[in-house]
Each structure stands twice: as C-alpha cells, then as structure tokens.
Amino acid sequence: MKYIFSIFSLLVLSSFLYAQKSAGYQVGDYVEDFSLKNIDGRYVSLSTFPDTKGFIIIFTCNVCPYSIAYEDRITALNVEYNSQGFPVIAINPNDPEVQPGDSFEKMQERYKEKGFNFPYLIDEGQKVYPKFGAQRTPHVFILCRDNKGLKVEYIGTIDDNYEDASEVKTPYVENAVNALLSGKPVPLTYTKAIGCGIKVKK
C-alpha cells in the first residue's frame, strides 16, 4: 500500500515538474539587468529606475493581434501602478527582418499613435527575451525589489479575457501587483495564454 502511494505521489510530482519546466527565469529567480534602446533612442536599464518597488515587464509588439488587443490595458496598468512604484516597461522581442511591422521606426510610429506612457524598448540582437524565457507576445514578468535584487513574482498573461476588457473576471497582473504592494503573497504566480510566438532571426 505504502509503495503504491509513493509511486503515485512520485508520478504526480514528476508530471508537475515537467509541466513547470521551461527555459528562462522562473518565479523566485533574480533577474540580471539589461540595457535596451527606447523609442527616443536612449538606452534604458532596470538600474535607470533605482527607486521603484519593482517593474511590470511586458514583452509585446506592434502587429500581434493579442498585443494590439491589450495595448490600452497596458497603458492603463502604467497609469495605475507607475505612481505606486511598479512602472511598466515594454520590450519588443521580435526580429524586424522576420516581421517588418515590428521595426524600430514602426515602434516609434505606434508609440505616437497610441500615446504610450511607458518605455517601449527593442530587444536588438534578441539577447534579453531568452533570458526571461518569454515565449509569446504579450508575456508579462512582474519583478519585485528586495535586499538581494529584483525577484520574479509572476509570469504569464495580463487577465482572463483578451477579447473584452469589460468581461475580465480575474485581472492576474493587477491582483499580483496589489498583493505585492500590500506585502502579501501573489495569489496566482503563473498563467498560460495563446499569443503570437516570438519571431526569431532566421
């Protein structure tokens, strides 16, 4: 009987580990700083903002329909949380040769059109997104500062309804940041979503 239980729990445990395994940062990891070009031509790092409580890092782009569906919600997140110490930093991870709509110039155009209020950086050379383990756009990583550095507290999607912001039942990112702001554990640290795969240089 005991054996059966240990085998059963081993199976459960191994399938769980398998499901969680993927390259890049996991919840609980500390992130390395990066330096990427913003749409104004200046380079932005996490250390550019030493006084924040953390960051909402969002890998997103110009052309993916899911990214477009979330543009206004990303802007709203920055309005809500920049002043509370969790600014949004958006990073376009796509290779512009593979996806011309995601070139630096097109990013500048989109920034103006949509009136983005957050840094919109380009991952030139595609070195940063693999470190995070971003797989799609949009893909969110919430970082929180402690005495050791910036720790990943949430990985996943923005909320549970890409089609209609007014129908959202669980705003995952808001819930996570609100929990961090009040010193509580993040209620759900990992969520899945369909998004556009990142366009890698051929």
């Binding site: 239980f5 499901a19 899945k192």
Partner: protein
Amino acid sequence: MLYSTINRYFRLMRLVFLLFLLCSSEIASAQIAKPFETVTFDGYQIAVYDYNGLEPLLQTQSDTVFIIHFWATWCGPCVEEIPEIIKFNNAYINQKVKVILVSVDMRTKIKSALIPFLKKQDIEAKVIVISDPDMNRWIPLIDKKWEGTIPATLIFSKNQRQFYPHPFNFDELETEVKKFILP
C-alpha cells in the same frame, strides 16, 4: 503510528474522491459538441465553440483516429505548415482518420481573415473556431505541458492520446498517425 494510519486513510479517501471526479467528468462530457455560434459568410459555415462546447470533440469511442490541429491565420509558422496538414488530410480522406483544424483566430476576424484565407488556400478540411477567452483554464485541459504556443496538434484514438506543441510536415505527421492506426 495511529497518526500515520489516519493520514494514510485520508490520502486514500482523497484518491477515491479524485477518481470519482474523473469518472463523473467522463460521463458529463460524453455529449455532443455544441457551438455557441455559427458564422455564415461567402459560402462557408464556421462553427464557434467555447471549451465546454468543444470538449466532446476531444475524445472518441469509435475506431477513427482524430487529428486536432490548433492554428491561426495570424501565426506565420501555422500558415507555412497548413499545406502539409491539408496534403495529409487529402491523402487519408478515405481512411478512418479525421482532421479537424481548430482556429484560434478571434471571433471578430472570422469574416475578415479566416474565411478569406480558407478560400484562397482552397481548404476543404473541417475548420472550426475556439473562442474562449479564459485561456488559462482550457489550455492546460488540452494538455498540461502546452504553453499556448501554436501550431500545436493533438492526436488521439480510442486508446491513445499524444500532444505535439510544434509544427509537422507531411512525413512527420504520417509517421505519428500510423502509430495510432490499429492493424
């Protein structure tokens, strides 16, 4: 000692309860797939499902092998791969193999993107749309290790089931499907 016996008893009960839940969900899903909407445009009829409506299509008691292929018109690798899937569908059209193309295109894009694409590519395989915004719920129900990246394919028969979160070409798909076809 007593404590560990009680503890073991509780664990056993939990297992029994879990099995009961699994069984009851089996019974509940032995129903007919129900679209919540059908979009008719330009000679095409596209059924739109949420996950619960789609779930009955994801299991079978027949001898047919099902290939459920998740894709979208906005997904570059999917668009590159689709001709291979169509070629496979045409080659196996008279066998006990059924290909269902499940598009994750947004509902608002069915008339403007999906149907024009099907027309242009002359796709006659069965195409349906899953439109269920609560993706974090249904993606793991298709397969635990699926992150939601497409293309992705689920192949199943009465006794076997396998998920492939990557593109296929004709030969690769045929090799996999052959493992499911009973001699």
